[in-house]
Symmetry: C2
């Protein structure tokens, strides 16, 4: 019963999705399902959402097809080898056995769990804007800031599976309180909500990232300063990371990354501010080439591109 389909599962702070994905990185029409998660959900509700989308996606498996395997991308932190997840924004789940839950719903398949940030990086590397680089960080700038690393052509997930937490790399000069308990982390400075909060503190009257984008287009000075501040901070953090691991490429997706193309000019300025070292300034920073399918494609890459997993 040969098949080239993987079951992809993406668990995030507001929703969980599942879909079937072929060996070319294409989501099979009609196989994608979504259910809510959310910080106020209890463990049973979260479990119901996960098993619901997994069962629904599996139910669309063409007659006679088998699965190559199951890939799960989850918001971190995780304990990769034990299959446990503790998503920062899903407090009901701490060291929750997600791999086991999925195995119960879809028994008999190999399951691979990684952080969602690594999955989006794999997706860009496989079929997106990272195809030409073996030394690549993928980033998501949205409600939070996350990412993943491919170094020397292979993923870096680390001994616990938590490598890639770019949102918790510090940025010089900042001291903003972070949800992780620290201060001056990139996520605490430059996420969508933090940029909105900063603008409001300067006197801007909106309340969402979408409104901030509109104000930016309209030439509002505070909105422009907020975008510059976020971009510079992102660039500085990319500078630190490139100093450390000699990146060639950074791909950035997520809602707030699309606030305006000018964000990328500010990111470039932040990298140049970080250092004059040529090996750091060489790093390219480009927008994600994937739509909101990226996380699912990346989860499927855990199966289809298992050859480059560490």
């Amino acid at each position: 019963m040969p098949s080239d389909l993987a079951l992809a599962v993406d668990l995030g702070g507001t929703k969980v999705e599942a879909a079937l994905v072929d060996s070319g990185g294409r989501i099979i029409d009609g196989s994608r399902f979504r259910r809510p998660t959310g910080a106020s959900s209890d463990s049973e509700q979260l479990s119901g959402s996960v098993t619901g989308v997994v069962a629904a996606a599996l139910g669309t498996l063409p007659t006679g097809s088998g699965l190559l395997g199951i890939g799960i991308g989850a918001a971190g932190p995780i304990r990769q080898d034990d299959g446990l997840v503790s998503p920062l924004n899903l407090p009901a789940w701490r060291d929750f056995p997600l791999t086991e839950l999925v195995a119960t719903t879809a028994p008999g398949h190999e399951i691979t769990l990684r952080m969602d940030g690594l999955c989006i990086t794999l997706a860009e590397h496989w079929v997106g804007a990272g195809r030409d680089s073996s030394n690549h960080m993928g980033m998501v700038v949205s409600t939070g800031i996350g990412g993943g690393l491919i170094l020397g052509g292979r993923t870096v997930s680390g001994p616990t599976g938590n490598a890639g937490h770019i949102g918790h790399v510090e940025v010089a000069g900042f001291t903003d309180d972070c949800a992780c308990g620290g201060h001056g982390c990139l996520e605490a400075v430059a996420s969508g909500p933090r940029s909105v909060a900063w603008a409001r503190a300067q006197g801007w009257s909106g309340s969402t990232g979408e409104e901030l984008a509109e104000s930016h287009v309209a030439g509002d000075g505070i909105a422009q300063a907020a975008v510059a501040r976020a971009g510079r901070a992102i660039g500085r953090a990319i500078g630190s990371v490139t100093s450390l691991v000699d990146l060639e490429l950074v791909t950035i997706g997520g809602g707030f990354s699309r606030i305006t193309p000018e964000l990328f000019d500010h990111i470039r300025a932040g990298i140049d501010e970080h250092t004059s070292f040529g090996f750091v300034r060489k790093v390219s920073v480009v927008p994600s080439a994937l739509s909101d399918e990226g996380p699912l494609i990346g989860a499927a890459a855990l199966v289809h591109r298992a050859d480059i997993l560490d």
Copy 2:
């Protein structure tokens, strides 16, 4: 003509050394030679120092022995694949063909060039305090701050060879000018000279790291604050790095790291300040187990432990 000896070369900002090192990581008695380098040296003087120590060390090769190969550790930045070095503190050399120079003095051998920070990490991994970890950052805290990475049991040198520049990871809350052109880099905050300068700015009257150590032992409040400040900053940077690459172990050597064992308590406090994430706080931080032979042992590891080079 079998042999288990490697020729190790370590090029730094104040000196260059060479020695023969056996397959157990031991420097052969009488084979170690040192000559000065220094920021005021011209290119010819630097070349003379390098060829001098290389020829002297080679001259001690036992009759009938051959070399397994030559390993060179150099202060960065470097261009690894081209064999070029641009040590920040040796301005006479920018993209200087160091590998070619050594090949001229010792023809017929395979030569491997890496950053000195990677070499000290390899040395700790091979025969020092890093033997039990596959996810390890080695650091030197001295006139500057440098380091190297071993992830998943293999070195990470990066596409240009410059991975490991931990001294140019930013630390939140600081804005000190860095020699790299940036601000708030760890090296600009916590190196020996910067810690001395900070203490002097607070009213302390000494002028060297050794004097700062003496004042610390004597209970001087400014000296204690300077050590705490450096340790916290080092810990914060280790926190950023562990967030990014999920380290298990950090080994730290270099003159300023030995100022007082209390430095390591402040480093631990800095990591805990950085975040409450368990996967970050898990990281162990220990002193180097090697003497000042570490850089040469590490350069030799480029030959003897070529199996784990990326």
